[in-house]
Amino acid sequence: MGFGPFLLLALMEGLVTAAVLSLAAVGLSLVFGVMRVVNVAHGEFFMLGAVIAWFVAGLVPGPAWMAFLAALVLAPLVVGALAAAVDGLVLKRLNYDPEATIVATIGVMYMVQQAALSFYGPDARPVAAPFDWRFQLPWFGYSGYKLFVVAAAVAVLLAVWLGMTRTRAGLVMRATQVDRDVARAFGIDVERVYMGTFALGAGLAAMGAVLYVPISQAHYLMGHDPLLLSFIVVIIGGLGSLRGTLVAALVIGLSDGVISMFFSPTLAKILATLLVAMVLVFRPQGLFGAKA
């Protein structure tokens, strides 16, 4: 196999990474944008989505696609409900203080991780893909499900974008984002908006995980990488900017694919984390975000 096909494979893998990244990151971006809360437990919501997908696969009889569909509905609901509880019991009482909420969500992260270890166990377990179709290129075969993940990511992002720009709920969220006191003065129930946003962000992470887990495995520590990568994407894209998040997911995903293929995944991650730090230091509005 020559260099060209290798590069094509790297780019395709990168595109899949970008899709998963944007699915994981869009919820984090939404939560930060509307609530100004940096949710360190975001990766654990992602992990819970994958673990729930595994449980559902064991419970739902019949073909894999039925379990997949059930998980796609159930996981975001369960995880969203959990997130709403975290919001009501913890974040709200901290009055959404930025630094205190980071410390608190670190605590939540450990609790969720440990709960998963206790109830799910330390093993990595596979979940079957809803369909099993490979297509053959002249140089290599490729999983059709991975392409489906890319399409699904596009669909989810489009839905979020439409929801934020075209619906009343989106309008209320954007109003709260601009100024929560003014929003409150206009009769918006800010606390409900926050709870809904936090649940939505967590639900999106869980949905991303259900889509992702067939091309990976479910494991109680799997939230770590999505958290880190979501941070990277959200910060480089500009905190709270949906379009920036998408562009950054593409850039990071593709370069990750290429660097991982030709050098090493660890090196790719080192470079990405350093890039994030530099962006925050020298260009806090993000590389692709709007002006501060």
């Binding site: 450990y110 440990q114 709960a115 206790s118 080192i270 984390t273 730090a277 925050l280 230091v281 020298f282």
Partner: protein, 310 residues
């Protein structure tokens, strides 16, 4: 005077406990005191100066590897290795702080987190040289100080106690000095401090370098006293632990670090004997502290009982 007396009494009590209690507790205490030294360094940045760092693991690990790698590759003895570790932590803090301190608040937290993450990954990436995730055992020839093996219970405890005592007394002197007043001023109202002729960037960088040196010394001591260095010490848990200890004991109190470290250590010991869910406990304590007791135990004491508590 009273403050010095209280601190000396605490040190004497710790020394007596380490020497008189059975060996099991002696080892625990050695571990607690090394971790408390780390937390005391963290406390200077977070508790006194208000620099909420999520990346102190990189200073701890920089100190650990700056001491352990020369010991492993070139057979350095303990004393120079310990000094190298202290310098390693300080240099790491100088390099990362010079960049991270251009930001504040949440951005500062994320930048320090990212630097620490990059460092942890770098340890894995250069695993041929660092031993990567598995780590390596420190050669026992390097674990001798003044002719005594640091692997034995009592000398190990005495070494940990000396390090902690030195750190505690130095930090007491520091926070009661003129510069200590500047640290608190930066925490309370940075803009006002600036308009009193204080250079906030330079002062915060100085604090971070001191804090890094402390953390580095603790990391080096950990490797030399317990004989092992590994990539997990650079992970995010080791940035969270000192924060947890400090929050529990009382941020911005000199004795809070050791109180928090000791309580947390025995709490997890106790929890481990009941369930294996020690991480759950760490998370729970963090959430409960942030929600209900953000000042910690000694912060409460200071507010209610003894206002001059340093």
């Amino acid at each position: 005077m009273r403050a010095w007396a209280v601190h000396l009494a605490v040190l004497a009590a710790l020394l007596a406990a380490g020497l008189l209690l059975p060996g099991y507790h002696t080892t625990n205490l050695a571990r607690i005191l090394v971790l408390a030294t780390f937390a005391a360094g963290y406390n200077l940045a977070f508790g006194y100066t208000g620099l909420l760092s999520l990346g102190h693991a990189m200073f701890f690990a920089a100190g650990m590897y700056a001491a352990a790698l020369p010991a492993w590759h070139w057979g350095w003895p303990a004393a120079p290795a310990l000094l190298a570790g202290t310098a390693g932590g300080a240099l790491m803090a100088l390099a990362t702080g010079a960049l991270a301190l251009r930001t504040a608040g949440v951005s500062f937290m994320i930048v320090t987190l990212m630097f620490a993450q990059a460092f942890a990954l770098a340890i894995l990436y250069f695993n041929g040289w660092t031993g990567g995730d598995e780590g390596f055992v420190i050669p026992s020839a390097s674990r001798h100080l003044f002719g005594t093996s640091l692997a034995a219970d009592t000398p190990r405890f005495l070494a940990a106690w000396s390090l902690f005592a030195l750190g505690l007394l130095l930090s007491l002197a520091l926070v009661r000095s003129r510069f200590g007043r500047v640290m608190v001023a930066l925490r309370e109202n940075e803009e006002r401090a600036r308009m009193l002729g204080i250079n906030p960037f330079a002062a915060k960088l100085k604090v971070l370098v001191i804090s890094g040196a402390w953390s580095g010394a603790a990391g080096a001591a950990y490797a030399l006293l317990f004989g092992y260095a590994g990539g997990s010490f650079a992970g995010i848990q080791y940035s969270i632990l000192p924060m947890l200890y400090v929050l529990l004991g009382g941020a911005g109190t000199t004795l809070g670090a050791v109180l928090g470290a000791g309580l947390m250590f025995y709490l997890t010991e106790f929890a481990s004997s009941v369930t294996s869910a020690w991480l759950f406990l760490v998370g729970l304590v963090l959430v409960v502290l942030v929600l209900f007791a953000p000042k910690g135990i000694l912060g409460w004491v200071r507010a209610r009982l003894w206002r001059e508590l340093p």
